[in-house]
């Protein structure tokens, strides 16, 4: 019989369900569990934490999860592939080994290094890497002194290499999100860099799984027909040494997998579908066929891919000022008009106090904040509106001053204003994103076990 591996994703982002990965280990009948903890901005937060405390800089939630599942993953031989290592995989590994030791268990952990290039920037600039912004071509020198983090999206062969050491947990930093699923397939089926269609197949499977329940009934257009979302099952891909795979879930879980829940996730964060560029391959998302083969099980076949580019994408994050947002609820007759007056009063008082901001925004939640004013299916009078005021500035003191101007309007504005229980809005750092490309020859990956 043809070898099949079952790869599940239990974490779409840091903050996703803490029980989903636990349930997959307990009831999922899987070979691999993937866990994605890193959004674009997460690594810069981790670099800041590590700067203050060298024992930090990884996804701490992952330690708590391993405490809950370590016995089961050893008993069932489930391997975990995750980017929870962040910018400090060594310390993350130490903490995991402590967990194992406390329980008298033995576990092998491999870490992948080489994606974090924060401290190599000067060296790389000397070698001629320009870090030019790939979206708007702006010059890296303008932001160089404000950089918080810099990570290359390294390829999935590093994950396969880590698995070949016999590791049960693979701790990476910035690998591509779909790579968490592709990596095990490369390892199990010995796929080579020229196996473009197969690499594309694993990448597409990873893309479908990478946001967890978003392919199994979550955030789905036909939401009224999704059963038991409270117990939604996270997705499981079954891959073989071919360009065909299936996506399904635990039969006893809630949610829904059909052709449309999968198609929606295929389209998520899609750019040019003919050229989906990953570190491993270029995938043609217009190539494959999709079929429902049984309840909550969809088959995808005929995936096409092309040779990878000679560059890695680099994700740089840098400090770019401060911002704050505050909200008030305005209720009762003429709620919208009163909300407009409330906004006018607050902005006028700030102006009278001599303040102006680099940017500001007034939004009416419940009326127009998401879609503007003209796109309305049914006209109705709003009985309440949430007024949201936001500002942005390089001067932190101005942000703090703004925060003090919201509460007074409750007693010194129109009637029916409430909802200020959260306290004064506080300044948040703006950590801006700087995408660029680097030639692959400049990045050396290393597996340590």
């Amino acid at each position: 019989m043809k070898k099949i591996i079952k790869v599940a994703n239990g974490q779409g982002f840091w903050g996703d369900s803490i029980d989903a990965p636990y349930n997959l280990v307990k009831y999922g009948e899987i070979d691999y569990l993937t866990l994605d903890y890193l959004a674009e901005v997460t690594l810069s937060i981790m670099q800041r934490q590590k700067l203050k405390n060298p024992q930090k800089g990884y996804a701490t939630d992952f330690i708590d999860l391993v405490k809950r599942v370590i016995k089961d993953i050893i008993d069932k031989n489930i391997k975990i592939i995750t980017n929870a290592g962040g910018v400090n995989p060594e310390v993350c590994k130490e903490k995991l080994l402590e967990v194992a030791k406390e329980l008298n268990l033995d576990i092998k952990i491999a870490i992948i290094k080489g994606d974090d290039i924060l401290h190599d920037i000067d060296n790389l600039l000397d070698k001629g890497v320009d870090f030019q912004n790939m979206d708007d071509n702006s010059n890296f020198k303008d932001i160089k002194n404000n950089v918080y983090s810099a990570n290359a999206y390294i390829d999935s062969f590093s994950i396969a290499e880590a698995l070949s050491t016999g590791a049960q947990i693979v701790l990476a930093g910035r690998v591509s999100d779909p790579g968490l699923v592709l990596g095990p397939a490369i390892y199990e089926f010995n796929w080579q860099r020229e196996d473009y269609d197969k690499l594309a197949t694993g990448t597409l499977a990873g893309h479908i799984l990478e946001c967890g329940a978003q392919c199994s009934g979550g955030n789905y257009t036909d939401w009224k027909n999704v059963p038991d979302l409270a117990n939604v099952g996270y997705p499981i891909a079954s891959l073989s040494d071919s360009t065909t795979f299936t996506v399904s879930k635990d039969p006893n879980s809630g949610g829904l997998i059909n052709r449309y829940t999968i198609i929606e996730q295929v389209l998520y964060e899609m750019g040019n579908p003919n050229h989906y560029i990953s570190p491993d391959v270029v995938v043609d998302f217009t190539s494959f066929n999709i079929n429902e083969i049984s309840k909550d099980k969809v088959e995808i076949s005929g995936v096409k891919g092309y040779e990878a580019t000679d560059t890695y994408k680099v994700s740089i994050n840098y400090f770019n000022g401060y911002k704050a947002s505050g909200q008030l609820t305005i209720s009762g007759p003429n709620a919208l008009e009163k909300a407009e007056l409330t906004a006018e009063i607050i902005w006028k008082r700030l102006k009278n106090a001599g303040l102006s901001f680099e940017d500001s925004l007034t939004e009416y939640l419940g009326f127009s904040s998401c879609h503007g004013t003209k796109m309305r299916e049914f006209k109705s009078d709003n009985n309440e509106i949430v007024l949201r005021l936001s500002i942005r500035d390089r001067d932190k003191d101005k942000i703090i001053r703004f925060g003090k101007e919201l509460a007074p309007v409750i007693t010194a504005g129109p009637p029916g204003v409430t909802g200020f229980s959260g306290g004064r809005p506080r300044p948040q750092e703006i950590i801006a994103f700087w995408p660029c490309l680097i030639n692959k020859k400049h990045i050396d990956t290393e597996v340590i076990f």
Partner: protein, 113 residues
């Protein structure tokens, strides 16, 4: 008949830096063939006129009966820089489904309530 897009299609959206993407997929081949002719860049740009500051790009995925639109500069800077409530364009898909269209009579049998 006059319909909303949601009666013949589903949609999902997300962010691509400071741009958002809106993927629209159809439940029926004939409806998709018609939509491919009718739903233009101009129509989407006009529908999202209060949201999109830049251009709109359009791609076709015949294998899954879907159109993908990139709404340039639709997120107030995107990521951590934006001040807007829907920072990642998560709701742009729902907005797309409010698009009003004149559906040919022969396709009316495919309309969902």
């Amino acid at each position: 008949m006059r319909i909303r897009l949601r009666q013949v299609a589903g949609a999902r959206s997300g962010d691509k830096g400071k741009h958002s993407n809106v993927g629209i997929y159809f439940y029926n081949q004939e409806v998709y063939d018609w939509a491919k002719e009718v739903i233009s860049v101009k129509m989407i740009k006009n529908h999202f006129s209060e949201i999109v500051l830049g251009d709109v790009d359009r791609y076709e995925l015949d294998n899954i009966l879907a159109l993908n639109f990139i709404l340039k500069d639709s997120l107030g800077g995107g990521g951590s820089e934006t001040l807007i409530n829907d920072a990642q364009g998560k709701t742009h898909g729902q907005a797309a489904l409010l698009l009003e269209l004149d559906l040919p009579k022969k396709l009316e049998k495919h309309v969902k309530v």
